[in-house]
């Protein structure tokens, strides 16, 4: 790739929004046949840069070159016409239409009298799908596909033109490990066709596996480009956050208390079966497994969102019946859900109201809500969790992911729960805030809370948990203490290679 000309070059890009210099002289070059990682914390300017590239925002200064030709981008369609295509993190597909219609949406092949040329449409689509080696065809309804396959449709859409550059934005966020392998094969294939690839991700593991170079943004500024083979995770992290991040094992050094929650033989239809475990006060119990292993569903059952088909839930040794979140909350069980924006927060409400939502019924003076009581709760947990917001009036939707997550955690902590379940505690949260959330979870355990952490990131599970429950296909495969667990044994347990171990 030494003498080839870059497929994409950005020079001195500046973009300011009222009060923020979102991009400050960003330069960035993508060569043909290269996978170029773009990294940075949330708010570092990655999304803005991509919006500039896609023509959604016009840059204040700077120039974009495609194949060394200066261009002005005005819309994603125009970018696509020039061979620059985006695979977005959030899928934008029409569920009710077929795969073929989605792929050629807006540019369906025509016959006379504006009729769609279905034969040509399906033939062209199947040709593209064949390249991707997927298990569905042009006529499949998109709504019937798994998320991973829907993502493949997005990728197929990119291949309808002969792309010069493809931009992947967090493509693996909702993929299982097996599905990731397929995605990486597609990327390899594109690479071999001399396509330049921009790969945006928070996941170091993947970055080091598939990229050639890594460019880092911090606070809208370009911090440098590293050759992937010459660098390591520490160096990249330091560039991103200006310090290094501790992800070592973290077993408890405090004594564990009584068993707070015990689950015996819990089953829920085909989702999971015969799940038993216990969690003590002062302990962090990690749940690790692939997407679909049944972890979230167990949490939802304990929180009263699903009815179990068999089994018992015991709190402090007493069997309890939990048929709704109202029951769960009354019993001191809290759930920080997987999808913070869809399930955890009322985005249009302010910080204070979100934090006091489950208990606002108890914060009344006469018929009215006591704002004073609410503000004092908010202030207390803002300080405790170090939530950075200009004030309680701030709308939660305007906070960063890390601060949003702290609002959800604060919401439940202020109810003084017995058991705190945290599902994917750091999904979509930048590296710096991740460490804070991890420390917070450890601290809560030290204060005597029983904490369950569900995570799809192995370093995270290893880092925060005292014990780890490994799940596969709706069953508990093995339970590890933090002393005995190794990455290999954990991977074996969650991929169904090893037979379930009887505790």
């Amino acid at each position: 790739m030494t003498d080839a000309q870059p497929v994409l070059r950005l020079e001195g890009i500046v973009k300011t929004f009222p009060g923020v210099r979102a991009l400050d002289g960003v330069a960035f070059t993508v060569m043909p046949g290269e996978v170029h990682a773009l990294m940075g914390e949330n708010g570092a300017g990655k999304s803005t840069l991509m919006k500039v590239l896609g023509g959604i925002h016009a840059p204040d200064e700077g120039q974009i070159y495609i194949a060394e030709e200066p261009v002005v981008m005005t819309s994603p369609l125009q970018a696509k016409a020039r061979g620059v295509v985006f695979i977005h993190q959030e899928l934008s597909l029409a569920d009710e239409l077929s795969v073929a219609e989605n792929i050629f949406l807006g540019e369906l092949p025509r016959k006379a009298f504006a009729q769609v040329d279905w034969a040509k449409l399906y033939a062209e689509t199947d040709a593209i799908l064949q390249r991707l080696n997927v298990g569905f065809n042009a006529r499949t309804r998109v709504g019937d596909l798994s998320i991973a396959n829907q993502q493949m449709v997005e990728i197929a859409r990119a291949l309808t033109v002969d792309p010069r550059a493809v931009i992947f934005d967090e493509p693996t966020a909702s993929l299982t490990d097996a599905e990731k392998v397929v995605l990486f094969e597609v990327i390899e294939d594109l690479k071999s066709r001399d396509v330049g690839i921009i790969y945006i991700s928070h996941r170091m593991e993947e970055i080091f596996k598939i990229t050639d170079r890594i460019s880092v943004l911090r606070d809208g500024q370009y911090r440098g480009t590293l050759n992937t083979v010459d660098t390591n995770e520490d160096e990249v992290t330091q560039l991103m956050i200006g310090r290094s991040l501790d992800l070592s094992r973290n077993a408890s050094h405090h004594a564990l208390g009584e068993v707070a929650l015990e689950v015996r033989g819990l089953s829920c239809g085909t989702l999971y079966s015969d799940v038993s475990f216990e969690v003590r006060r002062g302990e962090v119990l990690g749940f690790y497994g692939l997407v679909g292993a049944g972890r979230t569903e167990i949490a939802e059952t304990i929180f009263g969102l699903r009815d179990p088909s068999a089994g018992q839930i015991l709190l402090d040794g007493q069997e309890v019946r939990i048929s709704s979140p109202i029951d769960a909350i009354a019993h001191g069980i809290s759930l920080v859900p997987e999808d913070r924006k869809a399930q955890g927060l009322v985005l249009g409400m302010n910080c204070r109201d979100n934090m006091t939502l489950p208990q606002v019924g108890d914060l009344t003076a006469g018929p009215f809500v006591s704002e004073g009581a609410e503000i004092s709760i908010f202030d207390q947990y803002r300080d405790k969790l170090d939530i950075r917001t200009p004030g309680w009036r701030q709308t939660v939707g305007n906070l960063s992911g890390g601060n949003q997550q702290k609002i959800v955690i604060g919401k439940w902590l202020s109810m003084r729960p017995k058991v705190l379940i945290v599902d994917e505690p750091t999904r979509g949260i930048d590296v710096g805030s991740k460490a804070e959330i991890h420390n917070l979870i450890r601290e809560l355990a030290a204060q005597g809370y029983a904490v369950i952490v569900i995570s799809s990131e192995m370093p995270e599970v290893l880092h925060v948990s005292d014990r780890i429950v490994a799940m596969f296909g709706g069953r508990v495969m093995r339970q590890f203490t933090s002393d005995e667990v190794t990455e290999d044994s954990l991977i074996q347990a969650i991929s169904g290679i090893a037979a379930p171990q009887v505790a």
């Binding site: 929004f17 979140p325 109202i326 769960a328 399930q343 009322v346 409400m349 606002v360 019924g361």
Partner: protein, 335 residues
């Protein structure tokens, strides 16, 4: 956003409808001085009092509709509920045991009408809660159904009963303000307190904004919906009570399109159709703005057809402006 900016944008959002009202007043006063056939000025005090009185029937319904829409629901059956409550009120006064009570029949007739409204609202609420069918569909059905009940009651004939004590009450002015206006203002005050100060109000916003998060926070969403539908049923009946106490006669087609006028006022006041955002006071502004338009256009000599056309255009223009302003501040998507 800084706290100051937040306050500024709030003033802008809540102030817009009142600025619009001031603009209307100015326009009609100036235009009226050239075009009006009457020698009275538009801003005449009595004229304004009358305007408030006339906005009461739809206003009271619109206030309730605000809560329903903040919830993320809608109620299309209010016009039919209004008519049925009116029929019950006027007809019940002719029942033998009611006639025997003399003027004591009045509070009972009101009670029957209000109960009718609450029951009809409860029917809507129960169906929305228990079936999970969208409120639009449920109340579209009940709109037709309730209207059917009105016709079953008395066929195509009007139901009449003029009680002069009632008329005197309805036409009375206390502190210069008409009885219907008092009902409107007191309802607005109570609902404003409900929505801004109580747990129920807080939950209404939370459910409308993110129903799943509300469920996860332990809010009983179904019963909450039910209460609000009973409330708007009550308010539709209250509106009928206020209006028909004076007129004493109800046609089976009365109240048609009231649901749409109420929704227009709510939307003009800035409440979002998608739920989670809105304000009682701004709806009051929306109600007044519509009534001002009607009266003002009449004042400068426009006929009814023109009035509807203009109101329709203004509604779209206002929402377009609102969208433009929001899009600029939030960087929303182009479509």
């Amino acid at each position: 956003m800084k706290t100051q900016d937040l306050l500024k944008s709030n003033v802008l959002k809540h102030g817009a409808i009142w600025a619009f009202i001031v603009a209307e007043l100015t326009f009609f006063t100036v235009a009226g001085s050239f075009l009006s056939t009457s020698d009275k000025s538009f801003m005449d005090f009595d004229n304004m009092l009358l305007l408030l009185k006339q906005s009461a029937p739809i206003g009271i319904i619109a206030l309730g509709m605000t809560i329903i829409m903040i919830n993320g629901n809608i109620d299309l059956s209010v016009g039919a509920t209004f008519a049925l409550a009116a029929v019950v009120m006027l007809d019940s006064m002719t029942w033998p045991f009611m006639v025997a009570m003399g003027d004591w029949a009045i509070p009972f007739s009101w009670l029957f009408a209000l109960l009718t409204g609450i029951v009809l609202g409860a029917v809507n609420g129960l169906i929305v809660w228990k079936t999970g069918v969208d409120a639009f569909i449920v109340t579209l059905g009940s709109m037709l159904g309730f209207r059917g009940l009105v016709f079953m009651y008395n066929g195509e004939n009007p139901t009449s009963n003029l009680n002069w004590t009632l008329v005197d009450f309805a036409e009375a002015q206390f502190l210069g303000i008409h009885t219907p206006t008092w009902f409107l203002l007191i309802t607005a005050l109570i609902l404003w307190l409900l929505m801004s100060r109580t747990v129920h109000g807080r939950n209404a916003y939370a459910i409308g904004n993110n129903r799943e998060a509300a469920v996860n926070a332990g809010i009983k969403v179904g019963p909450h919906f039910m209460w609000n539908f009973m409330l708007i049923g009550f308010l539709a009946a209250l509106s009928a009570v206020v209006f028909y106490s004076e007129s004493g006669s109800v046609n089976p087609n009365d109240g048609m399109l009231y649901e749409l006028w109420a929704i227009t006022a709510v939307v003009l006041g800035g409440t979002k159709l998608t739920g989670g955002y809105g304000s009682i006071i701004s709806t009051l502004g929306g109600v007044i703005a519509i009534q001002l338009l009607r009266k003002g256009l009449g004042h400068i000599g426009a006929d009814t057809e023109t009035v509807n056309l203009v109101i329709g255009l203004i509604l779209i223009a206002v929402l377009f402006l609102d969208r433009q302003m929001n899009r600029k501040s939030k960087g929303g998507l182009k479509i």
